[in-house]
């Protein structure tokens, strides 16, 4: 358990209109974002969307062309990385190879002039926090990838940073370790209370541990919301397509409603006002039932334990993906004629070319 000295209320971090381009190609195009005290915000997006650039600018490892980084009211945009008081865990293993786990954790404390006794106590405390106090005398080469990243987390937290920055720290790990460490990062972050910016391209990771998730595209923030809001009420076609699986069902919007798979449903904010477009429907928002003589047929069926995924081809050639409880579709096989209906009462309708 962490002592009181280790616990500290997180600080507010504000990114104001950050712009950065590389060789004329914009990586950040006016990114603005505020992280509340002690909040964990995940930046999610495809490769090249600017999320890592944003994190590196916050860390002081890169400079913006314009815009500001404000921590607790202080503009730190021009401060060098070494003076920013931010802990960072990197995607690549970054433990100093010539130091033991404990020496790694003590490194930042030594630079802050703490005496040997204090350093030892604090480093053991931090290693206990990540469950590795028994590995304190090991070198990086003697530890697994997951252990190294946990030590890196302990090292970043040991200096009691004003902000914790996590740059895809789990991407080099195998799936099982990744899931374990993901939960551990969240537990530790809640325990320590440090404001945290977490960059990842893995939506499951982001949705699982973040207070809010920001989806980035082409250097801009498309949507910043709680994970459940992001998933159920995506603000744009890009967010809808990037977070989770999504069907595009051709439809026409009239008077704020749309006819989707035979149901008339409301449209979400961000939908087109009138005319033809695509309704964005999640696979779990569909139900499937066998109906001899129906025009849609099952073309693929995957049993995934408690649920099944079914690919259905409609009469017009449009394919839909449905995710339903396995028990409800035990009578379906490839080629079965089925009807597909919509469970949702509101959907996002995007223009067909979005």
């Amino acid at each position: 358990m962490v002592t009181t000295s280790a616990t500290r209320t997180g600080l507010e971090v504000r990114l104001d209109e950050l712009r950065r381009s590389f060789g004329g190609v914009p990586a950040l195009d006016g990114l603005s974002l505020t992280l509340g005290q002690g909040e964990l915000v995940a930046l999610l997006g495809p490769s090249g969307c600017g999320k890592t650039t944003a994190l590196r600018i916050v860390a002081g490892l890169d400079e913006p062309d314009s815009g500001r980084v404000v921590v607790d009211g202080d503009d730190v945009t021009t401060l060098p990385a070494s003076k920013r008081d931010m802990g960072m865990v990197f995607q690549a293993y970054s433990l100093f190879p010539h130091m033991t786990a404990q020496q790694n954790v003590e490194f930042g404390l030594k630079l802050r002039g703490q005496d040997g006794g204090q350093r030892r106590t604090r480093s053991i405390e931090m290693l206990e926090l990540v469950g590795l106090s028994d590995q304190k005398d090991k070198f990086a080469s003697q530890m697994s990838g997951g252990q190294q990243q946990r030590v890196a987390l302990a090292r970043a937290l040991a200096i009691e940073p004003s902000v914790l920055l996590l740059d895809e720290p789990l991407s080099a790990l195998d799936a099982k370790v990744r899931a374990q460490l993901r939960d551990e990062i969240r537990r530790v972050q809640l325990e320590v209370g440090t404001t945290t910016l977490f960059v990842t391209h893995d939506q499951e990771e982001a949705l699982a541990i973040a207070d809010r998730v920001g989806v980035m595209n082409r250097g801009r923030l498309e949507q910043l919301d709680a994970p459940e809001v992001l998933y159920s009420r995506p603000a744009s076609a890009f967010v809808a397509g990037f977070v989770g699986l999504m069907n595009r069902v051709p439809t026409t919007v009239t008077g704020g409603t749309a006819d989707v798979l035979g149901s008339r449903v409301g449209t979400l904010d961000g939908s087109i006002a009138e005319g033809q477009g695509d309704a964005l429907v999640r696979p779990e928002q569909l139900t499937v039932a066998a109906a001899p003589g129906a025009t849609s047929t099952v073309v693929h069926l995957s049993f995934l334990g408690s649920y099944s995924r079914i690919t259905i081809r409609q009469a017009g050639g449009v394919e839909l993906l449905a995710q339903v409880p396995a028990a409800t579709v035990s009578d379906l096989t490839v080629g079965t004629a089925v009807t597909v209906s919509l469970l949702a009462r509101t959907v996002l309708v995007a223009s067909s070319d979005a």
């Binding site: 860390a59 002081g60 490892l61 060098p80 990385a81 070494s82 003076k83 920013r84 008081d85 931010m86 802990g87 960072m88 990197f90 690549a92 293993y93 970054s94 100093f96 190879p97 010539h98 490194f107 930042g108 630079l111 802050r112 070198f139 990086a140 080469s141 890196a152 090292r155 970043a156 200096i159 920055l165």
Partner: protein, 281 residues
């Protein structure tokens, strides 16, 4: 009972290995033994260690040994001070310049020593003007001379670690650039630096051409002069400097092996054959 074909093949391979080892061993050892024998032989008086004692007693030789050792130490120091921060900086901040830096560092390899001396003569007029005419001013020329070997060794060391991530990790923890280089980079390329240093020492101790043509005295120049009046002592001094270089190379291989066991990073040792280059120059 006759041995199986497999055992016979193994024996033949072992015999081949021993033959190669003996022939190549003899190729290296016989000249050294001949030198050793020559350096302890006095016509009509048998064997004596008097010539070896001369190494410590002959004032010119002693002074030359000290000068060469000082030159080696100064060259290593200047080379490390110039090369390590430059190479780290290029890797971190201006990777686009790495090819140019590599080209400049390897350039001395392509220039024959005699051509180098012609160029250095003009430069050394200024060196003498500012630093006097001490043999230790050869440090500047030798630093240029050892650049290709030192560059290769340090480059291999830097390539074996993730310099960018380690530096950024240290910077985020509050380290200045000086701290990053001294406390993070240098300890992790320790064996590469030792390798660069040992190779430089071996090169400087064996260097003759530049010192002789620029009219400075170092160990090889004095051995050459001594050879004209006292061949046995000159051979004893040559053998001693060769053995010193061998010891350095053996140490180098041990250092490399030990440090690679401790950390993940492994550093390729510098080419051992390069020690012979100055003697050939």
């Amino acid at each position: 009972m006759t041995a199986s074909p497999r055992v016979r093949a193994r024996r033949r391979l072992a015999a081949f290995r021993i033959t190669v080892f003996v022939v190549l061993g003899a190729f290296f050892v016989v000249p050294l033994l001949s030198m050793a024998s020559f350096s302890v032989r006095v016509p009509a008086r048998g064997r004596t260690l008097d010539y070896w004692k001369q190494l410590g007693e002959n004032p010119e030789l002693r002074s030359a040994i000290v000068t060469s050792l000082e030159l080696a130490a100064l060259t290593v120091a200047l080379m490390l001070v110039l090369l390590v921060p430059t190479m780290v900086w290029v890797r971190l901040r201006v990777p686009g310049l790495s090819r140019i830096v590599e080209f400049l560092c390897l350039l001395p390899l392509t220039i024959p020593a005699i051509v180098l001396v012609v160029g250095l003569e003009g430069v050394y007029a200024w060196v003498t003007y500012f630093f006097g005419d001490s043999s230790l001013t050869l440090t500047f020329a030798y630093t240029v001379l050892v650049l290709p070997y030192a560059y290769r060794s340090i480059d291999a060391g830097l390539a074996s670690i993730d310099v960018v991530t380690l530096s950024e990790a240290a910077r985020s923890l509050g380290a200045s650039w000086f701290t990053v280089i001294v406390r993070i980079i240098v300890p992790n390329i320790g064996s590469a630096l030792l390798s660069a240093a040992f190779i430089s020492v071996a090169l400087v101790l064996g260097e003759f051409t530049i010192a002789s043509l620029l009219n400075y005295e170092n160990l090889q120049v004095v051995i050459n002069l001594l050879g004209k009046s006292d061949a046995q002592t000159a051979v004893a001094a040559s053998l001693a400097s060769l053995l010193f270089a061998f010891v350095l190379l053996v140490l180098l291989s041990f250092v490399g092996r030990r440090s690679s066991r401790r950390v993940t990073a492994t550093v390729a040792p510098a080419p051992a054959t390069s020690t012979t280059t100055p003697r050939e120059a």
